[in-house]
């Protein structure tokens, strides 16, 4: 279809809409509009969508056809009125279906407009008052939004318009949650990845709103049901990163404990990500999780230095160890283990590790014995620290010293060497250095030389002599 035809079509739709609005007699044109809504072109779809919206907004407010009250004067009139309103009702349900179907259209524009039209319809008092209509509408929306074959994440981002302007937003939200739960139960197990993604996104959207107690309870049960499903690793990571936000809106976040502790036991990145959720539970909701620090201790391995989530790990670990009420043997164990690890770490990781260790010492002054000890004999035959001990309590870190810092004083990186030489520093914010990469370090050293001269090698060379026993 070429451009002219489309524009004429759109014009036709507009004139029809005007006609309908002018007189009830032209109401039959609604059928034409509904037919238009079956077209392929998205411009026509948008136009028809909007036309239907304006028409029914008009009718819903002008003619209370949705309520089945018969207050007509004469029986004949009443009969006619009844006929019209029932016909309108049929057309209205058909329109609602069409609009909901549009929510899973491939074009985002159509989706947005239909969502807007639906939300404006929902806002009118008449629609709101009839529970039946609202229920069907919401069911249709949710059914379309969490489809198992179409990725709806883009339109889910727009969903808050549904309840933002409405008066009874909490009622709408709880209705949504009910329908989500229904959908999840009805879907065939195991659910597809797309379905779960849509679901999770919608839950997150709902959790970002202000909720009342009823909604919170509903949300909690929905989430618990949702988390029982099996899911892909990527979605799992997504959930773990976002769970801290959702957790605040749940009525009883402790119901997540099982899920988090299980994921903590999986190991690797997932276990790291579950750390934060667990920590919030422990910190705010008094979860008793005795093995937490032992497990965190076991996560300090050489692999953390090269992993992509290095910054996140150190950020979380710094948060976990920020409490000054932790026993000093525990913090000492962490400091010793990290310093031991930094002996084999790349320079960019040591840049984080050293301030991290000094932060620990600054928070726990009892750790200062590790960098300056006066009571023991001045020489030890070997390091009392037991590196392979899994329990931080029995690794004897407090008996040891941080000789690793002395080793790192001889590090080839000048700034690491300088950092290691400072024994006592005030606690500093790590967030600025967590993202340091090797490229950043190199560019910080490779500044343009503005001086007149720089040091050179003064030993004359005879050719390109290679290092070691290599030749050209």
């Amino acid at each position: 279809m070429d451009q002219e035809k489309i524009s004429s079509f759109v014009k036709k739709i507009k004139t029809k809409t005007k006609l309908i609005l002018k007189d009830l007699k032209n109401a039959n044109l609604i059928i034409d509009l509904l037919a238009c809504a079956q077209e392929e072109n998205k411009l026509i779809l948008c136009a028809s969508c909007q036309a239907l919206g304006t028409v029914f907004l008009h009718y819903v407010s002008a003619k209370p056809f949705l309520k089945g009250d018969k207050t007509a004067v004469s029986a004949e009139d009443a009969n006619k009125e009844d006929q019209v309103s029932s016909w309108l009702k049929d057309q209205f349900t058909a329109t609602c279906d069409v609009l909901c179907d549009f929510l899973s259209h491939e074009s985002l524009e159509v989706k947005k407009i239909s969502l807007k039209v639906i939300s404006s319809l929902l806002q009118t008092n008449e629609v709101n008052s009839s529970q039946n209509v609202v229920g069907t509408l919401i069911e249709g929306i949710i059914g379309q939004l969490i489809k198992s074959d179409i990725d709806q994440t883009d339109i889910i981002g727009e969903v808050p318009v549904l309840w933002n302007a409405a008066d009874k937003s909490s009622a709408l939200i709880s209705l949504c949650l009910v329908h989500i739960r229904k959908q999840m139960k009805s879907v065939v197990q195991p659910a597809s990845d797309i379905f779960q993604r849509n679901c999770w996104k919608l839950i997150k959207q709902i959790a970002s709103q202000d909720l009342d107690d009823k909604c919170r309870r509903q949300l909690t049960s929905v989430i618990c049901d949702f988390l029982k499903q099996k899911m892909s690793a990527n979605l799992y990571k997504d959930i773990l990163t976002g769970i801290s936000v959702v957790m605040e809106k749940m009525s009883s976040p402790l119901r997540l404990t099982d899920f988090l502790s299980e994921s903590f036991n999986i190991g690797g990145a997932i276990s790291l990500m579950s750390l934060h959720g667990l920590f919030i539970l422990m910190h705010k909701y008094n979860l008793d999780y005795p093995d937490f620090y032992a497990k965190l201790y076991s996560m300090f391995r050489p692999q953390i230095f090269s992993a992509k989530y290095r910054a996140r790990f150190f950020h979380l670990a710094d948060t976990f160890l920020s409490s000054t009420h932790l026993p000093s043997y525990l913090v000492a164990a962490f400091a010793k283990r990290l310093s031991r690890l930094s002996l084999h770490a790349p320079a960019s990781a040591v840049h984080i590790a050293i301030p991290f260790i000094f932060n620990l010492i600054a928070r726990h002054p009892s750790l200062e014995v590790m960098i300056g000890r006066t009571d023991l004999p001045s020489e030890l035959t070997s390091d009392p620290y037991i590196p392979d001990e899994k329990e931080p309590a029995s690794c004897k870190a407090l008996d040891s010293c941080l000789w690793e810092l002395q080793t790192l004083e001889h590090h080839y990186d000048p700034s690491i060497s300088q950092k290691a030489q400072k024994r006592k520093v005030a606690e500093q914010d790590l967030s600025s250095i967590l993202e340091t990469t090797t490229s950043d370090i190199i560019s910080s050293y490779a500044k343009k030389i503005k001086k007149d001269t720089i040091p050179l090698n003064f030993v004359k060379i005879n050719g390109l002599t290679l290092a070691g026993n290599f030749v050209l």
């Binding site: 020489e379 080839y412 490229s439 050293y445 040091p455 030993v459 050719g463």
Partner: protein
């Protein structure tokens, strides 16, 4: 004579004045706060109040009271008598003077009185009568000769003696001195002329004598004449008496000093700024002792821009040294030819070369420390040498690359080559030429664009240097590598780096950073796992090591370079046998970077651990460090399957990296790689033997060595393993010193700084900050004092006037009383008389 009398008079007067004896009863001694023993009474410590008061009173009497007396009177009486107002004259003197004046007046009156004048006969202005009386009267024989002469003079009218007058005598003396002066001047001019003439003739002789030096026969025996000749030639070259030629001992000493200084500076840089800033020489009173101090920028060692000349300004001894070292190093003997070729290419060079060879004998005692001097070659300070000479001395560069030129080919190359404007121009310039020819092109380019020759040459040469750096990288991208060419380019790069340190550093830094960015973006796209870099990048890193001091604590080129190396080692998993080779090369390069500073590189340890892991038995779970993975298809890349013999040999990096994987994929090569890796581990252990916890650092390596398949490995490898494990155990058994809390330096007491004046004038200077202000202060002070003095004087004046008035009143009263008394007396007497008469009447 009158003048002398006056001076005497003044002096005597002053003496008399000072001699006025002070009346001890009049002296009043002021009270002092603290008396000092054995010190004379100072002027301000005593005074004569009575005397000064009476003086003041007298003065007022003479002035103020007189004025008062004359007040309201129109007439004034002037006393013009001689000496009446002069208080210095005594009454007697006054009288004498007055008498004398009276006499004078009387004499003047007799001007017109002719009778009283007496005529006296004179001879020579002396009265004859007196002289005659003298000669006749005195008969003393005291001084005959003088007497005779005198008498003769006098007796014969004074005309017998023809001696010249005093004036003439003086004239004669002046003329004589003038003559002497002129003679001296003439002599001086003559000597100057002859010297010039001699100089001219000497120059002509020098030119004619020059061929003598070429005579090879004379070379052996050096006569005294020749020695003298040479010293003359040398002295001719020197600028003046101040630029004395240094002896060989001095030169050697200077070079050693210079070397020592450079080494000391290198070590200072190695330790970093932190240490150097720690010693502060001065603590101010305002210092808060918080460790904060404004650091002065420390000048770094520099071989200044004119390091260009450095190379060329070598004097003979140096050149000779260099030659020595070259011939020492030279094993294939091509160099000798090459030298000759190069020399005949430049005719002007021949002389210079011969010259230096001549001197060989003289400087033979210098050859004590060849190595150190060879090092010092690069650091000779430049003195102002003529451009031509500098150009001639560029020659040693020609010798360094090992090239043998056939005489025919050399002629194709032009002598003057324009500087290339871009890298492509340089490439097209070099295209089709052999390594030897390219080396000549480099040399000639540098010669004809030497900065001392023309303006703008420096920029051209700098640009050429940058292109050459880029060309260096491209050399390694070609299929077959020309090693001679690489060596000559490297040597040229080194030498030009000494000329343009900053531009080289910037350029090389940019190359390194660019390649690192490329590597990082590649690694980013592959999820943080990079791949080993190509040969040219590795060679650039190698070049950094050769050109710049890697031992510096912080250096704008070497620090990024070592970071790049370690990043490659830490982020690139080993995927093929080529990666093993590249990684081992980079590890050895990293170790070379720190071999002087002995700094610790964790990435090397983890990489070597990873390589050993590839060869180890996988029977049990092993700890691995990233990027190495415990599982994967490459885990048994270096696993030896069959026992084989092995010989450690040098690896040619270019050949190995260009060869196919099949060639390398055999057990023998794996064993070699393993052995290389173990050698590097051993290097690490010896390099870092002083690090605390080295045992812990190397523990994973020790574990993995224990897992190597012993039965399959050659004996050499096993020996190496053994020695490494021993080293690790030794370092593990080392006792650890418990960390002590840092000793806090005692905070010094805060003291005020003494103000030290360099030149103490014996007085405290009351110097204000500003000249105007000082003047203002002085004036106010003076004004105050004057004001005070004036007020005091006025008060005293008033006192005097008041007393005077009182005196006059009292006097008047007394007079009146006295007069009344007399009157009353008279009246009483009269009355008495009257009464007596009356009585008598009755």
């Amino acid at each position: 004579m009158g003048k002398k009398g006056l001076a005497d008079k003044v002096r005597n007067k002053q003496k008399a004045k000072s001699k006025q004896a002070q009346n001890p009863f009049e002296v009043k001694i002021n009270k002092v706060k603290s008396s000092v023993v054995n010190r004379k009474l100072q002027k301000w410590e005593k005074g004569l109040p009575g005397v000064s008061r009476s003086k003041a009173v007298k003065k007022r009497k003479d002035t103020l009271l007189r004025e008062l007396h004359h007040m309201k009177k129109s007439n004034l009486l002037h006393d013009k008598r001689f000496g009446e107002n002069d208080s210095n004259l005594t009454a007697d003197e006054k009288m004498v003077q007055r008498f004398a004046m009276e006499k004078k007046k009387q004499i003047r009156k007799s001007d017109f009185n002719l009778n009283e004048e007496e005529v006296v006969l004179t001879h020579y202005g002396q009265s004859l009568a007196e002289n005659l009386q003298d000669t006749i009267g005195s008969e003393s024989d005291d001084d005959d000769a003088s007497k005779n002469l005198k008498t003769g003079d006098l007796q014969f009218g004074g005309f017998t003696n023809d001696s010249v007058s005093w004036k003439d005598k003086m004239k004669e003396v002046i003329a004589e001195s003038k003559k002497h002066k002129f003679e001296r001047q003439a002599e001086k001019e003559k000597t100057l002329e002859t010297t010039n003439e001699l100089d001219k003739s000497w120059k002509s002789i020098v030119t004619t004598l020059n061929p003598v030096r070429d005579n090879q026969l004379n070379k052996g025996k050096v006569s005294n004449f020749m020695q003298l000749f040479h010293t003359l030639v040398m002295s001719q070259k020197s600028d003046g008496a101040t630029d004395k030629l240094k002896t060989e001992e001095e030169k050697a000493k200077e070079e050693i000093e210079k070397l020592k200084q450079l080494e000391a500076e290198r070590i200072a840089r190695m330790k970093g700024d932190a240490q150097s800033s720690s010693k502060r020489d001065h603590t101010s009173a305002d210092d808060l002792c918080d460790g904060f101090a404004v650091e002065k920028p420390r000048p770094l060692v520099s071989f200044s821009i004119d390091g260009a000349n450095v190379e060329q300004d070598k004097d003979e001894s140096n050149e000779e040294e260099e030659e020595d070292s070259h011939t020492d190093n030279d094993s294939d003997g091509t160099e000798e030819e090459n030298e000759d070729e190069a020399e005949s290419g430049d005719d002007s060079d021949t002389e210079e070369e011969e010259d230096s060879e001549e001197d060989t004998d003289n400087y033979s005692d210098l050859a004590s420390d060849t190595e150190s001097e060879a090092e010092a070659d690069g650091q000779k300070k430049s003195s102002n040498v003529k451009a031509k000479k500098a150009d001639e001395k560029l020659k040693p560069i020609l010798k360094t690359p090992k090239i043998a030129i056939k005489p025919g080919e050399r002629m194709d190359l032009p002598f003057i080559i324009p500087a290339p404007g871009s890298l492509n121009e340089l490439k097209s310039l070099l295209h089709g030429h052999s390594a030897e020819e390219q080396a000549i092109i480099f040399t000639r380019l540098r010669k004809c664009h030497h900065p001392s020759l023309a303006e703008g040459n420096k920029e051209k040469l700098e640009q050429f240097h940058v292109y050459l750096l880029e060309y260096f990288g491209e050399l390694f991208q070609e299929e077959s590598l020309d090693k001679h060419l690489v060596n000559s380019v490297t040597v040229n790069l080194w030498e030009m780096t000494q000329m343009f340190p900053v531009s080289t550093a910037n350029c090389l830094q940019k190359i390194i950073v660019d390649r690192q960015n490329l590597y990082a973006s590649m690694a980013q796209s592959k999820g943080g796992r990079g791949s080993f870099v190509r040969l040219d990048t590795m060679m650039y890193l190698m070049l950094v090591e050769l050109l710049f001091p890697t031992s510096d604590f912080k250096h704008p080129v070497t620090t990024p370079a070592i970071h790049f190396i370690t990043q490659i080692l830490a982020e690139s998993p080993v995927r093929s046998i080529h990666d093993v080779v590249a990684g081992l090369f980079l590890s050895s390069l990293a170790i070379k970077f720190v071999h002087q500073s002995k700094r610790y590189i964790p990435e090397v340890v983890t990489f070597l651990h990873g390589v050993l892991f590839l060869a180890a038995d996988m029977s049990k779970e092993l700890k691995v460090f990233p990027p190495c993975q415990a599982l994967g298809k490459n885990v048994s890349l270096l696993k030896v399957h069959q026992k084989c013999a092995l010989a450690l040999q040098d690896w040619s990096i270019s050949e190995l990296l260009n060869s196919t994987a099949d060639v390398l994929n055999n057990d023998q090569f794996r064993c070699q790689a393993l052995l290389k890796c173990l050698v590097l581990v051993q290097d690490c252990l010896t390099l870092w033997k002083d690090l605390p916890l080295l045992g812990q650092v190397m523990k994973p390596v020790q574990e993995i060595i224990g897992l190597l398949p012993e039965h399959l490995l050659p004996q050499e490898v096993m020996d190496k393993c053994e020695s490494i494990i021993q080293l690790i155990q030794a370092s593990e058994s080392k006792s650890l010193k418990v960390m002590q809390p840092p000793t806090v330096k005692p905070v010094p007491l805060k003291l005020f700084e003494p103000e030290i004046e360099e030149f103490w004038a014996g007085k405290r200077k009351k110097k204000g900050p500003n000249k105007n202000e000082n003047e203002q202060k002085r004036l106010t002070h003076k004004y105050k004092r004057e004001m005070k003095a004036a007020i005091r004087e006025i008060k005293r004046d008033n006192e005097v006037l008041a007393r005077h008035q009182l005196d006059t009143v009292l006097q008047k009263d007394a007079d009146r009383k006295r007069k009344t008394k007399t009157l009353l007396q008279n009246l009483a007497a009269q009355e008495g008389d009257y009464k007596a008469i009356k009585k008598a009447k009755y």
